[in-house]
């Protein structure tokens, strides 16, 4: 097994993973999407809303705002048996929104949400929640809690979690006439021809579309892929740093396997 990082920041992670079985990397991908918990607003109590948008629309928009998440201090509601999250302090964070458009049109931003926990705040302060015209006002209490992507996508820590096979392009030099048709056909500009030399650039950019195979008049090109190497890519919503998402996903996956092992051992005793 071999891993090399191609792109890495708090928001993105792209890695080339070699010699790893497909089910393992797919389990990681699915765990990231559906099982890694993050914070999101789940209950909204409206005190006043005279804006043009319905309460439900505003509550939905609030839910979709990604919140910076602290996984160490908060627990899942089912872990502590919390039925009503507005009542459980160890489970939920309260955010308050109270805005009135006094003399002009006023855009209400995610930055206007006042969180009772300074570390659980919206990822961006510039997300419009609602727009108020003169004299309209909105006042509400929102409760954010930990949840998982399998329950609602607003709790998923990633917007993208994908992998593809590592492409493999073979050129039969006995058949190649250096006509340049593949150079023209490739949408990712992978080929280049200099005199009697055909060059293949960055293979990771190949999307396995096989346009070069089709365009080649002498059928000299074969596009295939390595069955145990993958280009893995995740893009965080900002709720958790990309590295933390991977760490948590492996923790959850490992726990599930340990549980399965335990159950099998008990059943066969």
């Amino acid at each position: 097994m071999e891993v090399s990082i191609l792109e890495y920041s708090d928001k993105y992670l792209k890695a080339l993973v070699r010699n790893v079985p497909l089910p393992l990397i797919n389990a990681l991908r699915r765990t990231i999407i559906a099982e890694v918990p993050t914070m999101a607003i789940d209950e909204v109590l409206f005190i006043d809303n005279t804006s043009a948008l319905y309460d439900e629309i505003i509550a939905h928009r609030l839910g979709l705002i990604p919140l910076k998440t602290d996984l160490d201090r908060y627990k899942m509601p089912e872990e502590v048996g919390c039925k009503d999250i507005t009542q459980c302090r160890e489970v939920a964070v309260r955010l308050i929104l109270d805005v009135e458009a006094k003399d002009d049109i006023r855009v209400v931003y995610s930055g206007d949400l006042k969180s009772e926990d300074p570390e659980i705040t919206p990822v961006s302060d510039k997300i419009p929640i609602v727009i108020l015209s003169k004299g309209q006002k909105i006042a509400l209490e929102a409760y954010a809690r930990l949840g998982r992507g399998r329950e609602h996508i607003k709790w998923s820590p990633v917007s993208v979690s994908v992998f593809k096979y590592l492409p493999k392009i073979e050129v039969n030099l006995e058949l190649c006439t250096y006509c340049g048709e593949c150079v023209k056909a490739c949408p990712r500009k992978i080929f280049s021809i200099e005199g009697d030399n055909i060059k293949i650039g960055n293979i990771i950019n190949c999307i396995l579309c096989r346009a070069c195979e089709e365009a080649c008049p002498t059928k000299a090109i074969t596009v295939s892929w390595e069955s145990d190497s993958f280009v893995f890519y995740i893009e965080s919503t900002g709720a958790l740093p990309s590295k933390r998402i991977i760490v948590e996903a492996f923790k959850i996956l490992k726990n599930k396997l340990l549980q399965l092992q335990k159950k099998v051992m008990e059943a066969t005793k």
Binding site: D48, N49, T50, S51, A52, L53, R61, L64, I65, P66, I105, V107, S110, V123, S124, D125, K126, I127, P128, V130, I131, L132, S133, G135, Q136, I153, S156, S159, V160, E235, T237, G238
Partner: protein
């Protein structure tokens, strides 16, 4: 109506980029360049901003009774 918070297809945050996008388009910059500079790479997210019309400004004056 109002700019969606996230991309309908992939779920990436796009709501916070709308006002800068709108401002720069109004100044005559080409949309493709602005989208690239805002870091919106996929076409699912790009269409969210490109095809959006701020209808909320038309319904803004209809206040609901409190």
């Amino acid at each position: 109506m109002i700019i969606p918070v996230r991309c309908f297809t992939c779920g990436a945050l796009i709501g916070d980029k709308w006002e800068e996008f709108k401002k720069r388009i109004a100044q005559g910059e080409p949309p493709s360049k602005v989208l690239d500079e805002l870091g919106i790479k996929r076409y699912c997210c790009r269409r969210m901003l490109l095809s959006h019309i701020d209808l909320i400004y038309d319904v803004l004056n209809f206040t609901r009774p409190s």
